[in-house]
Every structure is written in structure tokens, then in C-alpha cells.
């Protein structure tokens, strides 16, 4: 009796497993993962390739696992059945199961070449194209934040990239210290930022919105907090952002009294050695450019929301919020740190 009851059990276990897998898959499909919600032509060319390849893989999966399950069910040894036939192979079958994967792979490789060719053929633009048609962006990886420059527009910012919808964006990607990897899943694949190398990438942005990414190459202690944000703006919004970034911040005499106090603290401490604030004594170029700090929604590698409380806490003890980061504690009192935060939030 026992052999007969064990057979359905075995299949039932497999059935339960498959049901769990299907559940997981279904739960996954209820919200598509970022890679399959592309916001650029580039990401969508990859998403299409993923769908096709996963389709082929699903067919192979079902066939092979199906045959495996069938084999298990059919060829369980039965008492008294004697030895099975001692076959050692079948040339026709072996040729078939070599050729069929080869053909499937040839198809996949052809598709790969097509997409690869598209992704590596960056559009060329003459100098003087309007920024809403084409914009050059220089990305420089630092431990653990992103420096973002628009060389043609004279803009330097950090961790947040604004790009116009409908435009081609060309990237030059570099690093000043260790290897980082520039990645925004909804915009496209990764490009490593490697010391001594300048790598290229490009996007044709199709969807407006806020998209998150982060450093994808392990780069040390705070690799996890080296994030970035992309704002894909409609052309008007982009132009407004651009105009604001190009304008100088408020002159000291236009600052409110408490902002002025904060500014004084910044200018009389080590802040100025590492940070740049246009029109002030702060001319350091080691840390992020703070000229328009308050125009950004996040700070410290896009890891924290940019508001007075967070900024005050950061300035008071930077090593507490992001242990290991390169900003030393300044020895400010809590009140002083809060005043600095007030000034920082005035840098729109």
C-alpha cells in the first residue's frame, strides 16, 4: 500500500511548491518592478528585451520542469517490475536537444545585438541645441554622494538631476575616488564611474516624474546611502529650474536676521574649506556645492529629506546620521546647528 500513497504525496508537495511560486509571481506582477516601468526610450528598449527573454525562459522552464515532474511520476520503481531497459543514449534525441537550445540562443543573441546597437549609438547634436532638446551632464562619483554638473549651462549641483522630458541627455561619468556605478532603473542600465576613466551614457527621456536610483557598485562604508534622484521635468519646469540654478543666491544684506546669524557661523567654521556657496567665502570644492541647497528635496547622497530639522541634526552631528561619511563634526552647539540649518534652507 505504501508505495501507492507516497506517489500522490510527492506530486502534492510539488504542487504546493508551484502554487507558492505562482502566488509569489502573482504578487510580484500586481506592481511591476521599476525596470519594467521605463521612463526613457533606453529603459523601454531594455524592458522590451526583458519581456521577450522572460517569455522564452518561461516556455523553457515549463517544458523542462514539466518533463522532470512527468518523469518522476511515471518512472517511480514498482515492486516486482524488474530491471528497466539499460539504454545508454539516443543520438537523434541528443542532437535535437543540442540544436534546439542553440537555435533559441541564436534568436536571443540577435535581439541582444539589436538592443545593444541602439543603446551604444548615442545621438549626436551640434553645439547650440537648446537644453530642452539636448543637454550634457557630467556625473562625478564621490564617497558617498554624486556631483552633478551641466557644463554648457554653468550649473553644479548634487544628488538630484533635472532633465527635460523629450530631450536627449548625454552623460560623462567619472569618479574621484573609488569605483561607483551610476544607475536609475527607470531610465536605463548602469554605467560605472571609474577613476581615470570617463564613461559615456545617454537617455532619451519620455516620461515626466520623480525617479530614484542609487550607486550600484559597492564603494565602501556608506554605499547604501549613495542615492540619487532624477526629476524628469516638462520643458517649462526645466527652464524655470535652470534659471533658478543659474541665478546667485540672496546677498547677505537681504537675508533675514536669523539666516544671517547662520551664515556667520558657516563662514567662521571649517564649512568653507569643503563647500562652495556662490558669492561667499565658502569656496571649497570637496563636498557638495551648497549654492542652491534648499532647491533640492534631499541631501547627503539623497538619503534624507531636506528640511530644517534634518539639516540641523546633520550639522550638529553628521557622523550620527551617516556614520563614516567624510564630513567631520564641527563642534557646534545644538542652537548653532539650528541656525546653520535656517541659513541652509534660505539657499533656494
Amino acid at each position: 500500500m505504501k508505495p501507492e500513497t507516497r506517489l500522490p504525496n510527492f506530486i502534492r508537495y510539488a504542487g504546493v511548491l508551484m502554487a507558492v511560486a505562482a502566488l509569489l509571481a502573482a504578487a510580484g506582477c500586481s506592481g511591476l518592478p521599476a525596470m519594467l516601468k521605463p521612463a526613457s526610450e533606453n529603459a523601454s528598449s531594455i524592458a522590451n528585451l526583458i519581456w521577450v527573454t522572460f517569455g522564452i525562459a518561461a516556455v523553457v522552464f515549463v517544458i523542462v520542469e514539466g518533463v522532470l515532474m512527468l518523469t518522476i511520476a511515471r518512472y517511480r520503481n514498482k515492486p516486482g517490475a524488474g530491471m528497466p531497459r539499460q539504454s545508454t543514449g539516443n543520438t537523434a534525441v541528443e542532437i535535437a536537444w543540442t540544436a534546439i537550445p542553440a537555435i533559441a540562443l541564436a534568436v536571443v543573441f540577435a535581439l541582444t545585438l539589436g538592443t545593444l546597437n541602439y543603446l551604444t549609438t548615442a545621438p549626436t547634436w551640434a553645439k547650440g541645441a537648446s537644453p530642452t532638446q539636448h543637454v550634457n551632464v557630467r556625473i562625478i562619483g564621490h564617497e558617498w554622494w554624486w556631483e552633478i554638473q551641466y557644463p554648457d549651462l554653468g550649473i553644479t549641483t548634487a544628488n538630484e538631476i533635472h532633465v527635460p522630458v523629450g530631450a536627449d541627455v548625454s552623460f560623462k561619468i567619472e569618479s574621484t575616488d573609488v569605483i561607483h556605478s551610476f544607475w536609475v532603473p527607470q531610465m536605463g542600465g548602469k554605467t560605472d564611474a571609474i577613476p581615470g576613466h570617463i564613461n559615456n551614457s545617454w537617455w532619451h527621456v519620455t516620461e515626466a516624474g520623480r525617479f530614484t536610483g542609487q550607486c550600484a557598485e559597492y564603494c565602501g562604508t556608506e554605499h547604501a546611502l549613495m542615492r540619487l534622484v532624477v526629476y524628469a521635468d516638462p520643458p517649462d519646469t526645466f527652464n524655470a529650474w535652470m534659471a533658478n540654478q543659474k541665478s546667485p543666491p540672496l546677498a547677505t544684506d537681504k537675508l533675514a536676521p536669523d539666516e544671517k546669524l547662520g551664515q556667520q557661523i558657516v563662514m567662521t567654521h571649517a564649512c568653507t574649506a569643503c563647500h562652495y556657496i556662490q558669492g561667499t567665502k565658502a569656496v571649497g570644492r570637496i563636498g557638495p556645492d551648497l549654492t542652491h541647497f534648499a532647491s533640492r528635496s534631499t541631501f547627503a547622497g539623497a538619503s534624507f529629506e531636506n528640511h530644517g530639522v534634518n539639516v540641523g541634526a546633520w550639522v550638529y552631528d553628521p557622523q550620527k546620521m551617516k556614520p563614516g561619511n567624510k564630513m567631520p563634526g564641527l563642534g557646534l552647539s545644538l542652537a548653532e546647528a539650528q541656525m546653520v540649518a535656517v541659513y541652509m534652507e534660505s539657499l533656494k
Binding site: 531497459r85 571609474i194 565602501g220
Partner: protein
Amino acid sequence: MAATSKALPLLQRRAPSGIIRWLTTTDHKDIGIMYIITSILFFGVGGIEALIIRIQLARPENTVVTPEAYNQIFTMHGTTMVFLFGMPILIGIANYMVPLMIGARDMAFPRLNALSFWTLVLGGVIMYSSFLLGGAPDGGWFAYAPLTTKAYSPSHGMDFWALGIIVTGIGSIAGAINLVVTILNMRAPGMTLFKMPLFVWQMLVTAFLLLFAIPSLTVDSILLFLERNFSAPFFAANAGGDPLLWQHLFWFFGHPEVYILILPAFGIMSEVVPVFSQKPIFGYRAIVYSGILIGFLGFGVWAHHMFAVGMSPVADAIFSLSSMLIAIPTSIKIFSWIGTMWGGSLRFQTPLLYAIGMIAMFLIGGLSGITVAIVPIDLQVTDTYYVVAHFHYVLFGGTVFAAFAGIYYWFPKWTGKMLSETLGKWQFWIMLIGFNLTFMPMHLLGMDGMPRRVYTYGSGLGWDIWNELETIGSFIIAIAILIFIWNVVISMIKGKTAGNDPWDGFTLEWTTSSPPPRYDFAKIPTVHSLRPLWDQKHGADGNMPTETPKATARTEASLRPAITAADVAVAAAQIHMPAGSWAPLLLATGITILCYGMIYGVALAAAGIILSLASVIYWTWQKV
């Protein structure tokens, strides 16, 4: 009987007992057992590290460990699982089984074999001692420069890592030479290459992979050590070096390494599946040739780890193609195992369960492997949890499941006891469920943008639930491993006695006793076919009646003709087996002291060199 007991004192004089026996042994079986135990211990350590990783990631913005500790732990998890568990468990099984499967009495170089093992242990000690000596390695198991250079990793951690890698590398290269020479020169009469068991074939290919791949890693580690300690700028871009040099040398080792970890597993599969299907392997030569092909192609795919570094599109396309080509010989093997089961008479004992689990899980890893060979898809998923899922399906779903198939299959030969079938089946199902719960959601997380090697992630990204499930899954795996350990302990104490041939096996190892005597075979068998033992028992077509005790007696007698108590006595007294030796352990210790000297000063280094030279001289002059 009288003759046997007279022979015993001789045996005992040759093999000291207790701890000294193990420290000086040159017996391939002892060394195999030590390899297996050591690697399982390291599996425990690497597993605990994995559990800490999973606890930290169970919730967003968790603070169970500091970022620094997390980075050290994932570095050592990867390093341990690859170098201190994955390779040693397979090499250990090979150490025990290859001589037995080819009808030899030991490896070709027994003392070199011991040296391989001791360098593995001491290499592991060097790496793990860093936890007590100022900070563990924190640059990832792939140790990318310049993050691992002194400027960015100032503790001695990466020095210990590089030295540990070099020392274990000595053992791997020595072990590979030993396997190649043993397999090519010491096969029983009549065992042509194409009558060799498939596990031995895959180990032969693996040994060649080790020979050509490990030196690249050794060179890379030496360069890193020189750059860190003597300011030689191999990788520093601002001094004329190039960070990509590290990557090319590392992956020229690193990808063949994947095949070093999976080909022996394929070999185990190709032994277990036919025996439990009671049918010869389907397409023996196809499996041999596909293994060789994987070996060759394996050296032409390394840069698929580097699609994002900015190579030319042509280079990308070539490495993409070579990587996809690997899928063909690999799928031939999978199909051959299914072909072997098809039409067979399957005995669902634990070894076959693990083998079937391996096919089902490894297939998933293989399919996701094709997706990462596709450059555009790889640019998206590389360095995300998708890749973590992929290689765990290959290395856990593939190698670990196959290793368990091998352990359950050969444990009776190693110990003379059967592992409990009931506990084995519980372990299998629990591990299968835990494994899928842990690693399946990682595909999804990677595609949703979760990078690898992050100690934390933000809430509200939709990643929380999957990470929590994964953590639960990892503890389910841990339960399965505990059941395995319990199974080993309880079976050693009161397991069923195995006998010579508990599984109705095919190959020579089942013709000798369990565990085998020091000399393995009292008389070296002569081989006429791929399944020498099976053919003796059942006839080549399987039609020889097996049920009658008379037939069994006849076949056993014919394969091991006239092995009487007198023979055993003669064998014990006359077969020359190498004596134990302190030289391998002393040499490995000397090398290790030299390594600490590289960090802590010339005096210590000189002591290490003197001890090494002295043990080499002792080695050379010692009579064996």
C-alpha cells in the same frame, strides 16, 4: 582471523592514533574527511554571517549591525562560501572518492595532498584572525581596487584577505596537480579514459580549471598586497595604474571559479542519478565532451562581469555570445540526467531527492544566467539582488543540493553507517522551501532597483515585505542544516550499518569495505566496462537475476576474487602505503608565519622562512 589479528600491530605502528594521526595523515580518505568537516564548519560560519545579513535587512533602516560590520560580514560571507566552503567540500569529496573510483590506493602525492589541506585551514585562519587583529576585510569577496587599496581600506583586513587567498591558492594549485596526475596515471587496469566514472571526468576538467585560473587570482592578490604595503601603483589611476587591471585579473579567475564550483557538482549528479534510476547514464560521451567544452569556454567569458565598465560594444557582444554558448553544454547535461531517469526505475532515496532538487533549482539559475548574459539586461540587473538570486540558484540550488546528494550517497562509504532517510527527507523539503523563500523574491527586488551590498534601504519602496520573507526563508534553511547535523550525529551513533554496497552501486568504490582499509583495495580490480560492479551483479543488460543469494555471492566473489582473511593480512603487511608525516603541516605553518610576518615585521617573516625551508628539507629526506 588469526592472520588478521597478527597484521593489526603492523597497521597500528604505521598509523598513530588520536590527534597525531590526523595531524600527520597522508591517507587520502583521512584528508578527504578533514576537508569535508572543515568545509562544513566554514559553511556554518558563512551561514551565520548570512543570517546576520538577513536579520539586518529584515526591516528597512534596521540598525542591528553598523555599516562597517555589515560590510565586513558580507565580504567574509562571500569569501568563506567560495574559498572555504564551496571549493573544499568538493575537493574533499574528490579526495576521498577519486582514488576509490579509479581503483587506486591513494593520491599520486600523498604528502602534497596533506599540504593542500593544511594551507586551506591556515589560509582560513589568516583571514578570520583579522577579526581579532584590527578589522576584517571589508572590500567584498571580489575586492575591487581602488576601494581595497590602503587609502580607502586602511585596516589590515584586506592584507589578511590577500594573504589568505594566496595561501589557500597554493593548496588549490597543489591539489589540482595531484588530481591531474592521479587521474591520468593511477587508474586500474582496463579503465580507459572513456570507462572512467563521470565524477572523475568532471574532477579532471575542474583540476585543469584550477591550474589555469588560480594563478591569475594569486597574481592579482600579490599586486594588491604590493600596492597596499609598498606603494606600487598597479591600480591607482592618479599614479598611472588602472582599476580595471584588478577586474580583468580577478574575473579571469572568478568566472572559471564558477565552473570549478559547479563541474564537480555535475559529476556527483552524473553518479547519483543513474544509480537511483537503475540505468546507465544517458549520453556518457556527451556529458564528458560538454564538461570539457564548459572548461574551455569558461575561460572566454570573464568580462561579462564587466559590461558596465565601458568596454567597446564589440567586446560586449563577444563576451555576451561566449556566455550564452555555455548554456548549450550545460543544458545537454540537464537533459541527459532527465534522459537517464526517463524509462528508469527510480528509487526515491535521499540522494535522488537532492539530485532532482538540484535539476529543478539549477534550471532556474541557468535561465536567469542567460538573462544576465544579455548585455542590455545585464546593465540593468548587474549588482542588484537579481544577480544575488541568480548565483544562489546556481551555487546553492546547484552546488549545495548536489553536494548533499553526494554526501547522502557516499556517507555510508565514509563511515560504514547509513544516514537516516527520514531525517534526510525532512531536511530536503525544508531546505527546498526555505531556499526558494529566501532567494526567489530577490529576483523581484533586483528588478525593482535594490542594489547588492547595501546595509540598509529606505521604507516605502515596496521592498519591506520581500526582505522580511527572505529573512524567514533564511532561518528555514538554517533549520534544515541543523537537521542535517543532527542526522550525521545520530547516524554515527546508531545508524544502520551500511555494508559494502548499500545502493546497488555501479562503480569500484562499492566493491571495497565501508569505510575502506588504508590501502583501499586488497587487490586492484581490473575494469572492463563503465559500470564494473553493476555488470558483475546484473550483467550488462541488467537481466541477470539478482534476487538469489547464490548469484550475489557469485558476483561479489568474481569482482573481489578470493579476498580472504589471509589476503587482508598480506595486504596490510605488504602493500606499501605512505607513512604519516609532519612535513606538510610544518610547511603550511611556516608559510602562515611568513604571512603574518609580511604584516608584523621582518623577524616573524624570517622565522616563517626558516621553518618553511626546514620543513622542505625534512620533507625531502623523510623516508615514506
